[in-house]
Symmetry: D3
């Protein structure tokens, strides 16, 4: 038997962020976001886990060479967020509240069209080992 295989590549980045709604003041943001809304920010060691679905190539045995995926993840996402402040330093997060949900959607949008073999299937962002979010490109 032979068919679709789902290949995963995981990587890491360290970033700071502050959750807040710019239409609200600090006290209102504190009510909604709690400690995550500390005005001077806090940070995380994030993990990103990208999944690509496709048929393995009969010659190479690869759905897609993960070295290519590693390069795309670096160029389109990691080098823009690693050791950065997600509220201030990242062009594609501008005006977006950096929740785990929104980072997952943003990462999908940065990466999806660059996957040249197979198709992007899911992007998962771990904020901690206990809190994470996955986006699968489903339209609302």
């Amino acid at each position: 038997m032979r068919g679709t295989v789902y290949v995963y590549r995981r990587a890491h980045f360290s970033a700071s962020h502050r959750l807040f709604d710019p239409n609200l003041n600090d006290d209102q943001n504190q009510v909604i976001f709690g400690a995550c809304s500390n005005p001077n920010g806090h940070g995380h060691n994030y993990h990103i886990e990208v999944c690509i679905a496709g048929l393995p190539d009969p010659n190479t045995g690869f759905v897609i060479d993960l070295k290519k995926v590693k390069q795309i993840m670096h160029d389109r996402f990691l080098h823009k967020v690693d050791h950065k402040n997600l509220n201030v330093d990242v062009d594609f997060m501008s005006g977006i509240n950096p929740t785990t949900e929104n980072i997952a959607i943003a990462a999908w949008n940065q990466i999806a069209s660059y996957i040249s073999e197979g198709k992007l299937y899911s992007v998962r962002i771990y904020e901690t080992e206990n809190n994470f979010a996955e986006y699968r490109g489903e339209a609302s």
Copy 2:
């Protein structure tokens, strides 16, 4: 692109249990359940991983605030099972053989109707890092 996001919250509890069928004697249970049927019980550091699917709120960026999920998991599940004997101390496990499968179903039933935003998508119970079970609310 924007659509359904799957958010996860993971938590931990330490509990003891004994696997056995009350219609069978100790020797018969030993044949079926092996060491897991030791009459004086044994125990585990369990992990529970809850997944909720939904659209992120445009203002907060949350499918559901994970602090709410944490509270529901505590009130409806964790404080009833943590540092307890699953065969004796837990009302919602009464008469249920505490296999990983049955704990996952019971946790779903305790939690599902309390999720106020998005919908409960899956509950995963890790008995050890090598043995785990997931329930997705599928009817039989």
Copy 3:
């Protein structure tokens, strides 16, 4: 509520391999497979994660006794690959480039028909914690 549960069993093996296409020479293989094509091989601590879907038995509470799954995984897969060279020592990998994708498909084929209760749902192979592949038995 009660229905399908997905049970998982995870195990480990240590093996060496070399990625290469026998129709190409060493330099050509180096271009495609990079360091993974080192002629004298390299190796990994692999993890295999098997998932079986089914209804828990009303008496035992098991989809399938994981001790049975452990035995099938050992007999049909692990004892043939653990502490082996995947290019040379493994009958069911003969003529197959040992990418993570191909190991996952091979493991599925070795195990699927031996699962006596429930049905094999997925096989995941971790080459490292950052690179892994999953096969779900989908036909191409």
Copy 4:
């Protein structure tokens, strides 16, 4: 340069226990031990990590063959505690409050004299990934 090497072997066991002082009643034990004193017990996935110090043998390169250490750990410790109740089922824990500290000392005493090459250097017991204790055989 060449000299003492410290080799480690890690293993796992699942057990239940209850912390209590038999000279006190349940309420008094609850004050001291809290949830850990639940009368019907609770449990953990414990890890044991044994360290042996010595000079590597010039022929084998081993301080001690870890397969020997694995066997000693199994025969003298693991098969007596795995899937057991530490308060009731374990001869060498009889009359001993099964705190992590006391389990580490008991494991040392079970194993130390059986190490035939090198010397036992430390025994570490993990009750959870956040709580653990190490004993080094130091006299009081």
Copy 5:
């Protein structure tokens, strides 16, 4: 045999920081600290691991009740650094470059004199799983 036991308690905090020397300008700091000196900061999920050495109490079996240690760690350290900016929000880090080394020393100084049974033996700070530092209270 019975003697000194080393008990460990591990906890977690999420914080942002920027490494820089206030006597230098941004470019000079960039040369020394690289990406860690991003002016808008970045962040980590830190782990702190505290070790206390002492004789187990003959009645309780505890070197020190880890619930006490947990409370001291919370009151003296964690609630001051968790979800904070280490350069701005933390009184006891004022004027200190928040390297892993300096956080470990600061945590020791915050906690050591509050350990009422046994003695503080080491404080380890993990910035990531690959970078960490330990301080043992040794005078220079």
Copy 6:
């Protein structure tokens, strides 16, 4: 208080090896080394953990910049062993049985004299998460 701090840097490499004594035949090696002596080799995802002890610099707060340590580890050790066969491809392992003990000693010898600030305190090699060895430069 201020004094010696121990800083750690952890890295990873994937390699194959075969344990055997060249003075013995395959059957004799099988008796001593078991599955680890498979003639075609096997492999591991190794971890190396280097510890350096010293006083933090008052200006930088570093015992030693871990970026320097990373570079030394790469140049002197990792690029020579990663994706290699430890029996055949590695100059500094020539004629050495690649046990975890001997890899730790070899890594120490490759790295120690290149540590320009602080002193190398220990080198730990993990062959798996359950088997590892540490060398501290102690003379025999």
